[in-house]
């Protein structure tokens, strides 16, 4: 069978690749559009005088954070500090014999003081909420932010911990056993969100 096209309930056109059981949920244009809309909302939500910094969670969140920071810069008219958080050391399954092996630890790179700032925490997918919980712990160990806001590209919505995003790009219900992968040009040569 060859790659075909299919109409999904939301009306968007998506490409199905049957051979691999992989479904493209968002393409490059859609991702770009979502981020622009998100940047608009964030910019309009900010009160005058709020000091904002953008922090991405390794590794796809880091790329999204950089993109958002650039978009916000053009809207706000000034550059935003931007950093990367490695949450490996804070994962709740780190020493759980049943946990999956975490990606290699590369360290946190946040070259500014988080204290007193509103931190826009960015990740690619919000699923169980466990990564965000770890990220908040990791952030708090660096200092005392004024506020933490969460922005995610995709919300899978299992929400095992009581954590909601402030800015969600795309909400998605997918069956158990399927996984979402976010590919971004900077790390994967191509922008797309797939379910497999």
């Amino acid at each position: 069978m060859t790659a075909g096209e299919k109409e999904n309930p939301s009306g968007r056109t998506e490409k199905l690749i049957y051979e691999t059981g992989m479904e493209v949920i968002l393409n490059q244009q859609q991702i770009q559009g979502i981020l622009q809309t998100m940047a608009d909302r964030i910019a309009s939500d900010l009160d005058q005088g709020t000091v904002v910094a953008v922090v991405g969670i390794r590794s796809r969140g880091e790329v999204l954070a950089e993109r958002l920071a650039n978009m916000l810069e053009s809207r706000l008219g000034h550059a935003l500090p931007c950093g990367t958080l490695d949450i490996t050391l804070y994962r709740d399954d780190l020493n759980d014999p049943q946990g999956r092996m975490p990606p290699a630890f590369q360290g946190t790179e946040i070259p500014f003081d988080v204290s007193g700032k509103t931190i826009l925490l960015v990740d690619d997918v919000l699923d169980t909420g466990r990564s965000v919980r770890a990220a908040m712990d990791a952030l708090i160990d660096l200092g005392r932010p004024k506020a933490i806001r969460l922005a995610v590209l995709v919300d899978r919505g299992r929400h095992e911990y009581p954590i909601q995003a402030d800015y969600t790009g795309h909400k998605l219900q997918i069956p158990e056993g399927k996984t979402i992968a976010v590919h971004l040009a900077e790390t994967d040569n191509k922008d797309q969100v797939i379910v497999q």
């Binding site: 390794r58 590794s59 880091e62 790329v63 990367t84 490695d86 490996t88 050391l89 804070y90 780190l94 020493n95 759980d96 014999p97 049943q98 946990g99 092996m101 975490p102 990606p103 290699a104 630890f105 590369q106 360290g107 946190t108 790179e109 946040i110 204290s115 712990d137 990791a138 708090i140 160990d141 660096l142 200092g143 900077e186 790390t187």
Partner: protein, 322 residues
């Protein structure tokens, strides 16, 4: 920013016994991981919960201040509990053996043993007999892997890479575990190592090691990118391998005068503690080429990386057990 990592490679060793058996990729993994820990010293909470609930035993059968403190602090920064265990000698054959001692500690539920011992191979012996992770903090004249890792890390930090660098190691090679670990780590990372010292301080078949050997510091110093001055350890020297400290310093001491022959950017290293005026003059140890204090700072990041990685490997091993 995002470094590209080989996602197919995984650290799998639950023990760090030495560097001789490690691949270049494994050594680089430790160094890369250590880089991630470097920012800890500048944080407001200098701690992360990676080893929370884990117990690390510092089993030191030889005197040590800095290595022990460095390991203790590294373990604390990863939120592990640390037990300090000191014993001066284990050579009594009919008393409690090393294995007895370790098994007793293990019965208390320890996860990682950091061991320093006067007998080469003692960490390996432990690794065969208990389940905990074993980290070698120096065994006899065999290896001192974390020291060599922090040395390598420091060189990489300053010079970018070890590829093609000329490194001189000066002193008592025969009795030096630091020298051995340095030889393995540095040659694997592409450096050219020259051992420098009197023939009486060179081990048997030194020419079969992947190194050059020189008996004259003066004739090789001008080519060195890095010089690592070993501490003369009087307690280890058998007999009298050189006639006097004065004569040793004359030929092998790193003096201000000798530094004039060296490249202006030659790094000066020393594993400490320094015998000032013996193997190195104070002005050189404290001078602009010296990275001795930076070595100590980096030791912390390297040891955090090692503790973190061996624990991760142990966790993985548990998954596949049963």
């Amino acid at each position: 920013m995002a470094r590209l990592h080989d996602e197919t490679f995984r650290w799998w060793r639950k023990h760090l016994l030495g560097l001789r058996d490690l691949s270049r990729q494994e050594i680089e993994t430790i160094l890369d991981t250590a880089e991630g820990f470097e920012e800890f010293s500048t944080r407001s909470v200098k701690k992360a919960p990676a080893l929370r609930g884990k117990v690390v035993v510092n089993m030191f059968f030889e005197d040590s201040t800095r290595t022990r403190n460095s390991f203790t602090l590294a373990a604390n920064r990863l939120s592990a509990d640390v037990i300090e265990f000191t014993k001066t000698s284990s050579s009594v054959s009919k008393g409690e053996t090393l294995i007895d001692t370790a098994r007793n500690l293990e019965a208390m539920g320890i996860d990682i043993v950091v061991i320093r011992h006067n007998a080469g191979g003692a960490p390996k012996l432990l690794s065969r007999n208990i389940n905990a992770c074993i980290v070698n903090a120096g065994d006899g004249f065999n290896e001192h892997p974390t020291q060599a890792l922090l040395d390598t890390y420091t060189i990489r930090q300053v010079k970018g890479s070890l590829e093609g660098l000329k490194v001189g190691i000066v002193g008592d090679i025969t009795h030096s575990r630091v020298a051995r670990s340095n030889i393995w780590a540095m040659t694997k990372l592409g450096a050219e190592v020259t051992l420098i010292g009197p023939p009486t301080l060179m081990p048997a078949k030194v020419n079969e090691l992947p190194v050059k050997v020189s008996y004259s510091l003066d004739s090789v110093i001008e080519n060195l990118d890095v010089i690592n001055m070993l501490r003369i350890q009087f307690e280890r020297l058998g007999g009298n391998p050189f006639p006097s400290i004065r004569e040793y310093s004359h030929f092998f001491g790193l003096t201000v005068e000798r530094m004039r022959k060296a490249r202006p950017d030659m790094l000066v290293m020393h594993p400490g503690p320094i015998n000032r005026g013996l193997e190195i003059e104070s002005e050189v140890a404290d001078g602009p080429n010296s990275v001795i204090l930076r070595q100590v700072a980096n030791g912390l990041a390297v040891r955090m990386a090692v503790l973190f990685l061996v624990n991760q490997a142990a966790m993985e091993e548990q998954k596949y057990r049963v």
